[in-house]
């Protein structure tokens, strides 16, 4: 355990959409230079949890802390300004833009051209290519290439390199390996390790236990919106984790694996004010 407060901490986060209760009393911590793997079956609430962290959703109850201080995210921009970056399954969101242009959307470098301030394409391309090459993707050497022409792993790398370049401290990866082949996935995992080595806190969402074990320091299993297990590296075997995740299916397994508090909420919805 580190002395310093975690970069990001969740305390008793609840989230409901109207009458639908999706997250119950989620408490998690992630420190810098650490990979937190969020495991869980489809529908467990993983995406809802990270959207809450990214400022897309507002938690119904509970506290989010950064560096020990409570913070409030009213829109995605608030989370982004505090260095929380989300990279989605397919990496870049602008497939028809060039690498250099998409890298700098909204913060384009400019230069003077006579009386005009113009987009500095050369500089944008150079910085973007260098950023992604620093992550070990040396095959990308032309900033004019369209993002959509890159492989899945390359797009992930580009998106991560971009987040790091713009000062992200917490990197949230939503199923980055789900759509990738074996080789590409290995690639993406290497990038995750590189981000971690650079001192970022990484929240890695997956339902592939092997991928989680390859990079994770800390694991949380989400079942029906609750943290069913929270453990560190080497505390559980792959089989145990797989059982845990599958446990969401049957009540008996669920009860055996939860840390106690799910029970108290079963069948009972906490009072909510559904203002979304």
């Amino acid at each position: 355990m580190t002395e310093r407060p975690p970069i990001l901490e969740l305390r008793d986060i609840d989230k409901s959409f109207g009458p639908i209760d999706v997250l119950h009393k989620i408490s998690l911590k992630v420190h810098e230079g650490e990979v937190l793997c969020l495991l869980g079956d489809n529908g467990a609430g993983k995406s809802t949890l990270i959207k809450t962290l990214a400022g897309v959703h507002k938690a119904t109850a509970g506290t989010i802390l950064m560096d020990g201080e409570p913070v409030e995210f009213n829109r995605p921009r608030d989370a982004a300004d505090r260095g929380i970056a989300t990279v989605h399954q397919f990496g870049g969101t602008f497939p028809l833009m060039s690498i250099g242009r998409s890298f700098f959307v909204g913060v384009e470098p400019t230069k003077q051209w006579g009386p005009f301030t113009v987009f500095d394409r050369k500089k944008a391309n150079e910085i973007a290519v260098k950023a992604v090459q620093d992550f070990g993707i040396t095959r990308i050497n032309d900033g004019d290439r369209l993002v959509g022409g890159l492989s899945g792993g390359e797009r992930q790398s580009l998106a991560i390199a971009r987040a790091v370049y713009f000062g992200a401290r917490v990197l949230i990866l939503d199923e980055p390996t789900a759509a990738l082949g074996v080789k590409q996935a290995a690639h993406a995992l290497r990038i995750v390790n590189e981000a971690k080595r650079r001192g970022l806190a990484v929240i890695f969402i997956t339902h592939q236990v092997m991928h989680a074990l390859a990079v994770g320091d800390h694991f949380a299993v989400l079942i029906r919106g609750s943290v069913a297990a929270d453990f560190r590296k080497n505390e559980k075997t792959r089989e145990e984790i797989t059982d845990l995740m599958a446990g969401g299916e049957s009540m008996a397994d669920l009860e055996a694996s939860v840390e106690g508090y799910v029970e108290s909420h079963e069948g009972r919805l906490p009072p909510t004010n559904a203002d979304e």
Binding site: T93, P95, L96, M97, G106, T117, F119, N141, D142
Partner: protein
């Protein structure tokens, strides 16, 4: 070879190829005399009037929106000019400012309705299209008692907006070329162009990255409505009169030009030069048919084919652009 491959990946590639194909088709099957075709004013005039509207319509499409209210904005521009400066005999400057203000106003309405509601802009601008037609007709009949209003513009206004160069080429051609250069510069060389492409790619992400998506959308709608009003104003000054009808063809013609120019219907991809060439192609098909032995009625078939081929080619070129893998070296 490499240079050709590079050309094929540009958004305007398809439009340049279809332009050449159309000319070749007219020469081979229509017996067109090229020197006659290129010397003629009709299709260039047609292209210029259309092209000034097609560019902002194309930019809206790149950003993921559509504006069909331009159909009413052409007569709105010409009628406003003619009513103010013709019927009420106010200085031409007042008429011109009035016409452009109507454009700005309708653009703001289109833009605000689009960003404030979830209604698709196609439906919103369909609404303003019909509403503006009603307003123009009522206002014209109410104020002047007529659906056609004469206008006698002073010499300087005719010189700048309504001149026939060499007795045949409308001065609006020069406006078209100048506006194309300005738009091409802003869209492809400044950061604002980047914003338009990003918005067409993914509006939510663009907004989260700090792009003022609502403001850009409203500005683009203002540009398209005002450009249409500008074309109407120039026509009123050139022809010395304005009619409440007309302009509806522009909707269809502009969209075909934009798509033939390589803009993706789904947004996020295209170029100003492509739209320019697409407009030229459309104008040559539409007006160049008179220089062939082909019956006029076939031109719509050709336009239909061009449109389908263009959409198919856009898809292919987009895939090509996306699949671009650099050869060994060369940085």
């Amino acid at each position: 070879m490499n240079a050709f491959g590079h050309f094929l990946r540009r958004p305007e590639a398809a439009s340049i190829i279809s332009l050449l194909a159309v000319i070749a088709f007219y020469v081979i099957f229509g017996g067109v005399d090229l020197s006659k075709l290129f010397g003629a004013a009709s299709w260039v005039n047609f292209a210029a009037n259309l092209g000034i509207v097609a560019i902002p319509v194309g930019l809206l499409m790149i950003s993921g929106e559509l504006d069909i209210s331009i159909g009413a904005m052409i007569p709105a521009g010409s009628m406003t000019t003619a009513i103010l400066s013709g019927y009420y005999e106010l200085p031409i400057l007042v008429g011109m400012l009035g016409a452009l203000s109507v454009g700005v106003l309708v653009g703001i309405v289109n833009g605000l309705l689009t960003v404030r509601t979830t209604v698709p802009s196609l439906i919103i601008t369909l609404g303003t299209l019909v509403a503006m037609q009603g307003i123009i007709l009522s206002a014209s009949v109410l104020l002047t008692g007529n659906a056609s209003v004469p206008l006698d513009a002073p010499a300087w206004a005719k010189f700048v907006f309504g001149q026939l160069i060499g007795g045949s080429h409308q001065i609006i051609i020069i406006w078209w070329v100048v506006l194309t250069v300005i738009f091409a510069f802003v869209v492809h060389r400044t950061r604002y162009g980047n914003w338009i492409f990003a918005m067409g790619g993914d509006r939510d992400s663009a907004r989260n990255l700090g792009i003022p998506t609502n403001r850009v959308t409203v500005i683009l709608f203002i540009l398209s409505a005002t450009s249409a009003a500008f074309v109407g104003m120039c026509q009123a000054i050139l022809f010395n009169s304005a009619q409440v009808s007309g302009g509806m063809n522009f909707i269809f013609n502009a969209i075909v030009s934009v798509v033939a120019g390589g803009v993706l219907l789904t947004g996020g991809f295209g170029s100003v030069i492509g739209i320019f060439v697409g407009t030229l192609t459309f104008a040559i098909v539409n007006q160049g048919i008179y220089f062939t032995q082909i019956d006029r009625n076939w031109s719509n078939l050709i336009i239909g084919v061009i449109l389908l081929v263009a959409v198919g080619m856009n898809e292919t070129f987009r895939e090509k652009a996306l699949s671009y893998v650099p050869k060994k070296k060369k940085t």
